[in-house]
């Protein structure tokens, strides 16, 4: 049983690490600021989610698991918002707040 959980952890964390790599590749290769931002935020947050999923398979207790999920949700919320805000200032028209 614990072997199966460990395998699930390794698979999920590996997938998460792959998405982090994808995000960085996008950051390095995409031509303009907006698409780089897009790659960075989407891929990295998905990578974090997969890492959290993998760590949830390790037995640490309910409260610890809830904390892990909270970390991911907070990062997701902040990341999505800040990306939009950065994109508004990066847009040719500039920020109109």
């Amino acid at each position: 049983m614990s072997l199966a959980l460990d395998v699930l952890t390794i698979v999920a964390v590996s997938a998460g690490a792959f998405f982090f790599l994808a995000g960085t590749v996008g950051l390095l290769r995409f031509p303009d600021a907006l698409s780089r931002l897009h790659a960075l935020t989407k891929a990295d947050n998905l990578g974090l989610g997969l890492v959290v999923l993998g760590l949830l398979f390790q037995p640490e207790g309910l409260f610890a698991g809830l904390k892990l999920i909270t970390v991911w949700l907070l990062t997701l919320l902040a990341g999505a918002t800040v990306t939009q805000l950065i994109a508004r200032t990066a847009r040719p028209g500039g920020a109109q707040e």
Binding site: T70, L74, L77, A80, T81, L85, E97
Partner: protein, 315 residues
Amino acid sequence: MTDRPLALDIGLAFLVLGVAVWTIAARDTFAAVVGFVAFGLLLTLVWARLAAPDVAPTEAAIGSGVTGGLLLGASTRLHGTQTPAPGEKPGAILRLAAAALCTVVSAGLAAIVLLLPEPAPTLAPQAATNISATGLGNPVTAVLMAYRAIDTLLETVVLLLALVGVWSLAPDRVWGGFPGPRHHADPDGLLPFMAQLLVPVGLLVGIYIFWVGSVAPGGEFQGATILAAMWVLAMMAGLVDAPAVSRRWLRLLLVAGPAVFFAIGLAGFAMAGAFLAYPEAYAKLLIVTIEVPVTLSIATMLALLVAGPPERALR
């Protein structure tokens, strides 16, 4: 199977050094502040690798987050005066001397750390064995609130004095007014929406981290910094306006922490024979009685420090 991931540690060390060099070499202040915050975030990972889960969140919160906010405020205020006059740039000799001094200091520190006797001199065992007298479970909190409580009391006073210093930078006509510009919140806007979700959760997390500090890594400074960051976030999102610095409730809030701390310290003469001494039966109760107002006061101090000197006059 080694239990020390050397590649990770070496990679982290080089990354930290690289970001530090970039921060120093950055050409404009805004870029340097971003580099500084990045450096702080990486240091947090270093502290975690050094198995210091009390220092790591403090670095993330105060060293990187709040200080980053302070530096950012300073850099936006100084933006108009950024290009130094040609005569103000330091000459080559001065820069070489500074480089030599920094190298000597760094080499000295490295020598001290690397040449420590084995086992390194430490008071940690005594701190851990006597902790039952304080009623706490976290030795770091025991040091902060019991063994060296006087240092913590002085730190809160120093923060308060720093805040008074920041307030004194206000021009006469806005004396006692509102810090910072008025941030307008579009009620359907993105930032207020995020803040309305994030800030309550953040406040809960801050209270949790403060509360858990008595038995696990955490405590009043980390908790207070999170509370302060959430307050400033709410101000930036336009959900609340910064309070005018002359408001009585604000000043009471600021003073409550150090005052309670000092009062209990004086009561220590009567109760246990010395300043800030706790009678063993009531130690935990007294520590918590000190910690709650101190956390609120420090949170207010940090938030107001980041908000800056008053810029808008009282009507």
